[in-house]
């Protein structure tokens, strides 16, 4: 956790500290090249002062022919895009490519592409601002070029717009402002009154949103302009579909070094043949640059996303457990790497050379085996640790706390019984659910019952512990009011083995207790709660029972009672978009910090279920879960009728998750590079050991690597992730994941082996961490810059020469800009006062623990049309792009991003559709608060429900189904997930962003 501020450290990866341009340049007009290593002259971008002036028409040319040609040139696919820009006529309003609202920068010179760069020198941008640059034409000119038109496929690449003189822009004055900010709020030009408005006219508030970027793909502006064909820009759905088509249903064998796995969205089966399954580890690139210089040059972050407990598919083999006996697993003497397929046996099998540090070790006598003619051990296929990428070792006492075998872990359910939760019926709901839930605790494979022990605590201002020892005639409740110094009042009888009790007791004490709890507090009027003491109690309980475990805390309000960790309202919307915005995300220090440490030390994972009705400082409250491998669930204004089932599904999933406790993870690498940064719901005491109180099947740790030295193309790069943990049965184990990567001196190799989904996972997490220490504005700027930088690097080094106006994207990263744009529109990064601080903090923390699938889905929700699917087919209908344009008035769409789920109904939905889904005569009859579809016996209803249930089942979080009608007020919520469109709370459309990035790239290339 040595993150010393986002600025001090190079940005997301590889950049050297000396590159000052990243830090200071933005917004200060620093006359220094941004990206010095490109060596170009200062870019000729100038800035119209307000967004009003710059009008940009883009025509996208899909150059199939050119593409084909290029494919022959390059060894990999590229997508070639040709953008030409046009000036819009002024009347149609400004075209604003700036993706980000940042009102504070309004007075600063804006940097826009100079006319020359656009190939339209005769159309200088029109400026009305007093800050305009002297070289710019003060007058507006009508568009002189022909209207933008689609370049037909097969046409030469240099279309008419390309024919302009080469770049000869005036010297740049607004250097360092890659982000043309929006004009000052209220600037007239921001309204988008153009006739071709795509946004539904039903939302006047959209335009009035301060700082928001109204509008739509750049093409909407003027009558002379044709609408851009959105299909022409790279589509994620297309990429997904292609990959699914190509690799879906195949068996992916992990026997090749540096092999790029199928996409996370693709349905495939993994066969472990010496490298860890991509379900466990995914990398941003599978071919590392050989040298630090190369890495620096390309700016592609080198990172792995490790999900040590990822769930495997049913047809995939679970991990083998290897027992090396009393001496423990065999490890390299020097670097302590565990026995793995990368150990090279030599000397007739008597010795082996470590693949990580090259140290030569003796083979222990009991482990000796002869080598065959290939130099491979004869028992190669009998030993998982020699032939597989992932396996487990049985850990010896040396690997246990205090050299004592661990006890089985425990789950403690801690229920806030203050007035809010009683009144909402939540307590009763939980208690009722627990009765059945407890019979389904996770258990080790082959075990009949779960070894997990269970305890109960309720609390408001004081804590109530329950003794349900089976010898008792009735449960005992013990109240602890000394919240200043928390302790556990009982040992015996607090943590019990539930499975035994439920099956053996005719009238189980536990049921009786769970029946009684809601009644006991039925007439409570206590509304104050404590929080830190609750977690402390859990830690103390685990300490007393000498076990690790998980706390399930059901909490409703900010802890205001007099106790450690008391919080006060520090929500301040005025801080949004200021330097101090980061404080909204920063947890309160002090007792919370120490608490995280204590939790991790004891192996106490905290899962928080929050039921807030107002601000409750989630940044602070969720700090402990986010350091202990826990999850935070949040149900705003919880109502049993509408949110109950949703919450219970989450709870069930959470309780039944496969999980490991008291874990320490270490990532070892072969010489030449090493892990430097770790992102996740983790705690780090030093720079190498990742500590997690628990790690479940949905938690991923993103690890960034840096070069120490040059890597060799021949030996490649190896990494071994070793996770020491306690199983749910109380066994100490080591889970090993090995992965070998290629190394290359060719950047093209690297770009070819990139994985966009992993990249965006890395960027999401690093950005989410960065906003703790930096103004959001900077973070967004860096994101865009690095995106441009990576792409520019590709363009420069890997792509065949082409006109500057062409946007060339590496195939593996062609949809990367969509994700980056979407990332910048996520709640934490968007910087809008419309969003609740708690929601933003919550999402920020959630992202930190996410795996590649989760970030992918979060940043690009699935929008699935349901109105025209084949109800008889098993397959899911193909998703469409997340854009309003894809919606149809008579359609029904399902949108989900892993956290929210919407069923959108067009206003012209045919009545028979409504009838068969809702059993209602028309859309108008639909009640607003419906959260589940009625069970109707018709093929469509069955199919739709099975799709929805399937998705809910599949995702880590259960989602609440929200039904929205087109043009209804709740549609706003839905629309913010259409990530290709302009953001509801600010943020550019995909098209605009792409243009903007393109401009940036060109700036970098010149």
């Amino acid at each position: 956790m040595s993150q010393q501020g986002y600025v001090a450290a190079p940005p997301y990866s590889q950049a050297q500290p000396g590159m000052g341009g990243y830090q200071g340049g933005f917004g200060t007009g620093l006359a220094q090249p941004l990206h010095g290593h490109y060596g170009g002259p200062p870019q000729a971008f100038t800035a119209p002062t307000t967004g009003k002036g710059l009008l940009l028409f883009i025509s996208v040319v899909r150059m199939r022919q050119g593409l084909e040609q290029l494919q022959q040139v390059c060894t990999h696919q590229i997508v070639l895009l040709h953008f030409t820009s046009y000036r819009n006529c002024l009347a149609s309003g400004p075209m604003q490519s700036p993706p980000l609202p940042a009102s504070s920068v309004a007075q600063q010179p804006f940097q826009t592409p100079p006319p020359s760069a656009m190939g339209q020198p005769q159309m200088p941008p029109v400026l009305q601002s007093p800050h305009m640059s002297p070289h710019m034409s003060p007058q507006m000119s009508p568009p002189q070029s022909p209207p933008a038109n689609m370049q037909m496929a097969g046409q030469p690449m240099s279309g008419p717009p390309m024919s302009g003189p080469p770049i000869a822009g005036p010297p740049m004055t607004g250097m360092g402002r890659p982000f043309p900010g929006p004009p000052a709020p209220g600037a007239r030009g921001f309204q988008q009154p153009g006739p071709g408005v795509v946004g539904p006219p039903g939302y006047p508030q959209q335009a009035g949103m301060p700082g928001a970027f109204p509008g739509a793909p750049g093409g909407l502006a003027g009558p002379p302009q044709k609408k851009l064909d959105p299909d022409s820009i790279p589509s994620i759905t297309q990429v997904i579909e292609d990959d699914q088509g190509k690799q879906g249903g195949t068996v992916y064998k992990t026997n090749v070094r540096g092999q790029v796995p199928p996409l996370v969205t693709t349905d495939f089966t993994v066969q472990d043949q010496g490298n860890a399954s991509p379900r466990f580890i995914r990398c941003t690139t599978y071919s590392l640059p050989c040298t630090a210089d190369l890495a620096k040059q390309c700016q592609v972050p080198l990172a792995s996303i490790i999900k040590p407990f990822a769930s495997l598919q049913k047809n995939e083999t679970p991990l083998y457990v290897v027992n090396h006996g009393e001496t423990g697993p065999i490890r390299c003497n020097r670097c302590k790497a565990y026995m793995c397929p990368y150990m090279q046996f030599i000397d007739g099998g008597r010795r082996y050379q470590c693949g990580f540090c090259n140290c030569v070790n003796e083979v222990p006598v009991f482990y000796f085996q002869h080598l065959d003619h290939m130099g491979q051990r004869v028992d190669f296929y009998e030993r998982p640790e020699l032939s597989l990428g992932s396996y487990e070792f049985v850990a010896t006492l040396d690997y246990c706390k205090n050299n004592k075998p661990p006890n089985p872990p425990a789950y403690i359910f801690m229920i806030d019984v203050s007035y809010n939760n009683i009144k909402s019926g939540l307590v009763k709901l939980i208690c009722d659910e627990l009765k059945t839930l407890l019979e389904n605790l996770p258990s080790e494979e082959g075990m009949e019952s779960s070894a997990i022990k269970v305890g109960f605590v309720t609390y408001n201002k004081v804590l109530h512990f329950y003794n349900v020892k089976s010898a008792l005639a009735q449960p005992q409740m013990m109240v602890v009011s000394d919240t200043a110094e928390m302790f556990v009042p009982l040992l015996d009888g607090f943590l019990n083995n539930v499975t035994c009790q439920l099956s053996h007791d005719p009238v189980p004490l536990l049921s009786s207790l769970l029946d009684q709890i809601p009644d006991m507090f039925a007439d409570t009027n206590e509304s104050e709660t404590v929080f830190v003491p609750v977690i402390q109690a859990g830690v103390e309980a685990f300490k007393a029972a000498e076990c690790s475990g998980k706390l399930f805390i059901f909490h409703s309000s900010m802890p205001t009672a007099e106790a450690p960790g008391k919080l006060k309202n520090r929500d301040d919307k005025k801080l949004v978009n200021t330097e101090k915005e980061k404080t909204l995300f920063q947890p309160q220090k002090g007792v919370y910090e120490q608490l995280s440490k204590d939790c991790v030390a004891q192996g106490c994972c905290v899962d928080l279920f929050l039921f807030p009705s107002q601000y409750m400082d989630i940044a602070t409250m969720a700090d402990v879960p986010s350091h202990t491998g826990g999850s935070v669930y949040k149900y705003n204004n919880f109502q049993v009728e509408t949110d109950g089932e949703h919450f219970l599904r989450d709870l069930r999933k959470d309780v039944r998750k496969s999980i490991g406790f008291d874990a320490i993870m270490r990532v070892r690498t072969s010489t030449g590079f090493r892990a430097t940064e770790f992102f996740g719901a983790i705690h780090m005491n030093n720079t190498t050991d990742v500590e997690m109180a628990a790690v479940d099947c949905d938690k991923a740790i993103t690890v960034e690597f840096k070069h120490d030295d040059a890597l060799s193309e021949e030996t490649g790069a190896l990494m071994q992730c070793a996770l020491l943990y306690t199983t749910i049965n109380g066994q100490r184990r080591l889970r090993i994941h090995n992965l070998s990567l290629n190394c290359s001196l060719q950047l093209s190799e690297l770009f070819k082996s990139c994985e966009t989904d992993s990249l965006i996972n890395f960027f999401s997490k690093s950005a989410c961490r960065a906003i703790l220490n930096q103004p959001l504005k900077n973070v967004r700027e860096i994101l865009v810059n690095q995106t441009a930088h990576m792409l520019a690097c590709y363009r420069k080094n890997c792509a065949s020469p082409s006109a500057a106006s062409q946007l060339i994207l590496p195939d593996a990263m062609k949809v990367f800009p969509v994700y980056v744009n979407s990332l910048m529109k996520t709640a934490p990064l968007v910087g809008s006062t419309e969003l609740s601080t708690d929601d933003r903090a919550h999402q920020r923390l959630a992202i930190m623990g996410m795996g590649v699938e989760d970030t992918q889905l979060l940043l690009y929700p699935r929008l699935t049309p349901l109105h025209n699917m084949d109800v008889s087919s098993e397959a899911l209908p193909a998703p469409v792009r997340c854009s309003e344009e894809r919606l149809t008035d008579s359609g029904m769409f399902l949108l989900e991003n892993g956290h929210s789920m919407f069923l959108w109904l067009g206003q012209a939905s045919p009545p028979d559709l409504i009838q068969s889904i809702f059993n209602l005569p028309s859309l108008a009859h639909l009640q607003g608060n419906m959260c589940a579809l009625p069970e109707l016996d018709n093929p469509l209803s069955i199919k739709v429900r099975s799709i929805i249930n399937g998705l809910i089942e599949k995702r880590p979080n259960s989602m609440k189904l929200q039904i929205v009608r087109q043009k209804d007020k709740p549609e706003m919520l839905f629309r913010q997930f259409l990530v290709e469109d302009k953001g509801l709370h600010g943020g550019a459309s995909y098209m605009d962003f792409l243009c903007y990035v393109h401009r940036e790239i060109r700036q970098l290339l010149t």
């Binding site: 449960p475 409740m477 109240v479 000394d482």
Partner: protein, 735 residues
């Protein structure tokens, strides 16, 4: 006129008072010359079945700083309806209700036979009694079971409207809520953290103080103290479910026992809810406090609990701190009128030395035993709830004893289970003896046998002696809460004649009450022993001497700590300073009865010469009851003669001491340790250690006499030697 003996007896029977002198020397100088001060043993609530309380309130002297109660010694002008206070001589009119007063129609308080009279105060609420059990759960299974049964049994003995509460402790302290259905609820406190009274109330939300409703009936909302009749079943179940402290005790450690915090919670709970209401905290412990405030010994078994040796060597680490802690608590409790009992049953010490003040200052009981699973504990505990002839408990609460003296005498202090109320006044002497500097004391727990020693000073100067024929008057006013919850005031007014020491020295001499004096001096001795170094006290005692009682007193565990643990010493002293005269005498000089075929049972000298083969001896030391069968008797018994019809008389002989012992066992509180032994038995040591060692291994053969009695192996001097020495000292000028 009756003999002094009769006079003394009569006075004791009527007023519960025994004075050291029954004629008082008329000046300070003469009084000091008498060595034994003018002092008395006073039993405030002495059982007086013949004394029905009057249903009205006492009439008080109207002088603000006097407030003496109208008594038979006052001069009354029946015509003017005026009475003169015999302390301050204020003339007071009778209140209107006494309008009908006349020579022939006198109120009871004016009649001479009512020198002691009890008033019932009608006003004010009558809160129920409160019993708060504070139970140690770090006990052996067997002990805990026995204790649980005793506690359950005790519920049936409590008055149905009494409030009960339960606090259990071990490593933690649990306050149990008693009225919950379906779930047993308790509040838990950390055993290591001292909580202020406020914290306990806030933290535990201990319910509200009683709200008076109409007709003086209380509705008690508090959750922790509930009427017995309401929670009887619940509490019985709760006690039945009580488990041993569940926290594991590692090898070589003592269980962690948070006695200090438990008491603090108990005291705080009562303080917050029922101040100034009669309440009894009953602490049951099976070992020493080992953690938190009030800790007496650490939990390491390898460090033994402090001994007298450690204390003398200043090696007792926790002693001062713990004592201070418990003293503070005792004072808090006393201020609120709550008394604390300690029932300590363990083979080793339990920290009574540190905790004794809890009972000593609040008038609670201390009972010490080896195990809760003994009849000694069980019956003693049962006897706490014994009832008098009216069916009322023999216990009273919140007693305040006030002493008023006529101006020639002042009160120096008292020794007994009480605390000072710091009431200064004209009758308070500057010369403190015992707890002095006040004329009022609080005795939170008081029973019919509770006896205080009060010491007075004659203040008249030698040159202005009291005129002959005058009388010194002392009035004892005891306000208390009767066990039937009534508030009562008992007033005892006594008078003694003044005598001029020069002219009437024989009279004074004959008015000397040897027994009372012995006990009074012994109390002073014990009081000093508690606060001063042992040898100094013995030296002091040697200088003030009273015949042979002192010989035994010197050897008694009240002053000698040899062979006694600090806890035992504390225990013995505790009882010594509160028992009445008879019992005190037994404690000083144990009684020895002899049973033989030679005649009816007779008391014999507490001397080794009394130990004969053909005798059965019964020794009562108050704490022990020893039946000792002489050598021959023991042989006969072993031979089984008592089973034979022809030796019926032998059987009778064997039974006689048993019957007598039974009688004692049935009345004594606490129940004495009952020992049945014989010549040569190991338990015979209890007898041998008490008797006067007139024959020891030193003089046995030197004297060349025929062996009669049993030689005692001791280096202690015999009474004979002691007396010889004493005589020598008495006549030498330096003494």
């Amino acid at each position: 006129m009756a003999t002094y003996q009769e006079f003394i007896q009569q006075n004791e029977d009527r007023d519960g008072v025994r004075f050291s002198w029954n004629l008082w020397p008329s000046s300070r100088l003469e009084a000091t010359r008498l060595v034994v001060p003018v002092s008395c043993l006073f039993t405030p609530l002495k059982e007086r079945p013949d004394l029905p309380p009057v249903q009205y309130e006492p009439v008080l002297c109207s002088r603000a700083n006097c407030k003496a109660v109208l008594n038979p010694l006052c001069q009354v002008d029946f015509r003017a309806k005026i009475w003169a206070c015999n302390f301050c001589f204020q003339r007071n009119p009778f209140p209107p209700s006494y309008a009908g007063i006349s020579e022939v129609n006198q109120p009871a308080e004016l009649m001479p036979q009512f020198s002691t009279i009890e008033y019932i105060v009608q006003r004010g609420p009558t809160p129920p009694l409160i019993f708060l059990y504070v139970v140690d759960t770090c006990l052996e299974e067997e002990d805990l079971q026995a204790l649980k049964e005793s506690l359950q049994m005790s519920l049936s003995l409590l008055p149905p409207n009494a409030l009960v509460g339960l606090i259990t402790f071990g490593r933690m302290v649990q306050v149990h809520e008693l009225s919950c259905e379906g779930i047993a609820k308790s509040y838990v406190f950390r055993g290591t953290k001292d909580l202020s009274s406020k914290q306990i109330q806030v933290g535990g939300d201990k319910g509200r103080p009683p709200q008076p409703e109409n007709a003086g009936v209380f509705v008690f909302i508090t959750r922790f103290l509930q009427p017995v009749h309401r929670v009887d079943m619940n509490l019985t179940d709760l006690l039945g479910e009580l488990q041993r402290d569940p926290w594991p005790v590692p090898q070589g450690k003592r269980p962690l026992r948070s006695t200090g915090v438990a008491l603090s919670v108990a005291v705080g709970l009562l303080e917050g809810t029922f101040p100034n209401t009669g309440a009894r905290v009953m602490l049951f412990i099976g070992g020493p406090p080992t953690q938190g405030p009030g800790m007496v010994v650490g939990d390491e078994l390898k460090t033994p609990i402090r001994s007298w040796h450690d204390i003398q060597k200043d090696n007792a680490r926790h002693l001062k701190k713990a004592t201070k802690y418990y003293e503070a608590m005792a004072n808090r409790s006393a201020v609120n009128g709550h008394c604390i009992d300690i029932y300590a049953c363990a083979l080793d010490q339990t920290g009574l030395l540190e905790m004794k003040c809890l009972s000593n200052l609040t008038g609670g009981h201390i009972v010490m035993g080896d195990s809760f699973n003994t009849s000694l504990f069980k019956q003693t505990f049962q006897r706490v709830f014994s009832k008098d002839y009216n069916g009322d408990f023999r216990m009273a609460f919140g007693g305040v004893l006030e002493v008023k003296t006529s101006r020639e005498v002042k009160v120096c202090g008292t020794i007994g289970p009480c605390v000072s109320l710091n009431a200064k006044g004209s009758c308070v002497s500057e010369n403190e003896m015992g707890i002095g500097g006040t004329s009022q004391w609080k005795v939170c727990g008081i029973n019919p046998s509770t006896t205080l020693a009060l010491y007075f000073e004659v203040v008249n100067q030698h040159n202005a002696p009291v005129p002959q024929g005058g009388r010194g008057v002392i009035q004892f006013v005891t306000q208390y809460q009767h066990s039937n919850t009534q508030r009562r005031i008992r007033v005892t007014t006594i008078a003694r004649n003044w005598a001029d020491a020069q002219s009437q020295i024989q009279h004074i001499e004959s008015s000397f009450d040897q027994e009372a004096s012995a006990v009074l001096m012994a109390r002073l001795g014990v009081f000093r022993a508690e606060s001063e170094e042992g040898p100094d006290v013995l030296r002091w005692l040697d200088r003030q001497l009273i015949r042979l009682f002192m010989f035994h007193l010197r050897r008694s565990p009240f002053l000698q700590v040899f062979n006694n643990s600090p806890d035992e010493s504390s225990y013995y002293r505790h009882h010594f300073v509160r028992q009445d005269l008879t019992q005190s005498l037994i404690m000083i000089q144990p009684i020895l009865y002899s049973y033989s075929f030679h005649g009816p049972p007779e008391p014999v000298l507490l001397d080794s010469s009394s130990i004969l083969p053909d005798r059965i001896l019964l020794m009562d030391t108050f704490f022990q009851l020893v039946i000792y069968h002489g050598e021959t008797i023991a042989q006969w018994r072993k031979a089984g003669y008592q089973e034979m019809a022809e030796y019926e008389n032998f059987k009778q002989l064997l039974l006689a001491p048993l019957d007598d012992a039974q009688e004692i066992l049935q009345t004594r509180f606490p129940m004495p340790r009952y020992i049945d032994t014989e010549h040569g038995g190991s338990q015979a040591r209890f007898l041998l250690s008490k008797v006067n060692p007139s024959q020891t291994h030193n003089n046995l053969y030197a004297w060349g006499q025929v062996l009669r009695g049993a030689p005692i192996l001791t280096d202690d001097v015999s009474l004979q030697v002691f007396m010889d020495h004493l005589k020598k000292l008495a006549v030498s000028s330096s003494a």
